[in-house]
């Protein structure tokens, strides 16, 4: 099982629809400062549903919607899909590929927003995602994703916080 493709649409600095295929094994991602590398990691975390939006460097979820860049108009929604290869049937879904999608739409009144989850295109919930992903031991709070700067936290965090990482695993 591996992450076969990442589809982003109007997510942070990604305008419009963009599909990024990934190979299995070891892929390095590089590019200049501010080009959007960490936004790729934020896109993955966005779908895995972190407990807090702070983890994806946003004050509120609508900060994640493409703001138009230098001259354009802000988009009205952002959408990210993770497409996993499921040929080994690790995920409890009977298809060869499993597509997990999260969509955040600004409300008409520009203040609120709606947040929806989909599995292979059918409406779902964050709870479902957690359940599906737990079969592959993927969690947004575990150490699957080490965000920029996190590396210095492991040594500097307190003993109790560090123990809680083990509690999660137990």
């Amino acid at each position: 099982m591996y992450l076969k493709q990442l589809e982003v649409e109007n997510f942070k600095s990604f305008k419009g629809k963009l599909s990024i295929p990934f190979m299995d094994g070891f892929t390095a991602i590089t590019g200049p400062n501010g080009s959007g590398k960490s936004n790729v990691s934020d896109a993955v975390l966005f779908v895995l549903g972190p407990r807090s939006s702070k983890a994806i460097r946003a004050g509120k979820l609508t900060d994640l919607i493409f703001n138009g860049g230098k001259t354009g108009k802000p988009a009205s929604f952002c959408k990210v899909s993770l497409i996993f290869d499921n040929s080994e049937n690790i995920l409890p879904i009977s298809t060869n590929e499993v597509k997990l999608t999260r969509l955040v739409k600004r409300s008409k009144n520009q203040i609120g927003y709606s947040s929806n989850f989909y599995v292979n295109g059918k409406k779902s919930t964050l709870g479902d995602f957690d359940n599906i992903l737990s079969h592959a031991r993927i969690s947004s709070d575990g150490y699957n994703i080490v965000q920029q700067g996190d590396i210095t936290n492991i040594v500097s965090m307190g003993g109790v916080e560090r123990r809680q990482i083990l509690d999660e695993i137990a």
Partner: protein
């Protein structure tokens, strides 16, 4: 509950010792539960002794030495409870060229059992990867992704510096 935590602790601690000894070329490190009678009342400590040095307080280690301890902890968790994919964002920021290469080579070995996406600015890391993806942005605030780049293209076109470090 307590036996569950202690079982996880033993498993991860054993891997942590191995990984750190490997990455630090002979240093010693271990995890310690502060309160063995009631682990949930205390925390989890880390003790590390780089090769050729006395044991120190964790805070007295250098930036790069702390990075090695942290990566050992992460790799230990991954070995104890393997997951199919990982994303690591600039975990090599404080590492010297040798340590950055050692970490990248360990990731390369681990990538036979799991998928790794590593974001990095360091050439010594990019050299070890099997695949290379570039992310760029023109002056319009819009990110573009360039698939299947080679290192030469990265230095010239993506990082825009002819004799990059």
């Amino acid at each position: 509950k307590k036996t569950g935590l202690l079982k996880v602790f033993d498993g991860i601690n054993e891997k942590f010792k191995d990984v750190y000894a490997d990455l630090s070329d002979g240093g010693e490190a271990e995890l310690l539960i502060e309160n063995m009678t009631d682990p949930f009342q205390g925390g989890l400590q880390i003790k590390a002794r780089p090769k050729g040095k006395k044991v120190h307080r964790l805070e007295a280690l250098s930036g790069g030495e702390k990075g090695l301890v942290s990566m050992s902890f992460i790799f230990a968790i991954q070995r104890y409870q393997p997951s199919p994919f990982y994303v690591l964002d600039e975990v090599d920021q404080n590492l010297d060229a040798l340590n950055a290469r050692n970490i990248a080579q360990m990731i390369k070995r681990n990538s036979e059992r799991a998928q790794f996406l590593q974001i990095s600015l360091r050439e010594v890391t990019l050299k070890e990867a099997s695949n290379l993806v570039g992310v760029t942005m023109q002056n319009d605030g819009i990110s573009k992704v360039i698939m299947k780049v080679d290192l030469g293209t990265v230095k010239k076109d993506i990082m825009d510096i002819k004799d990059a470090d």
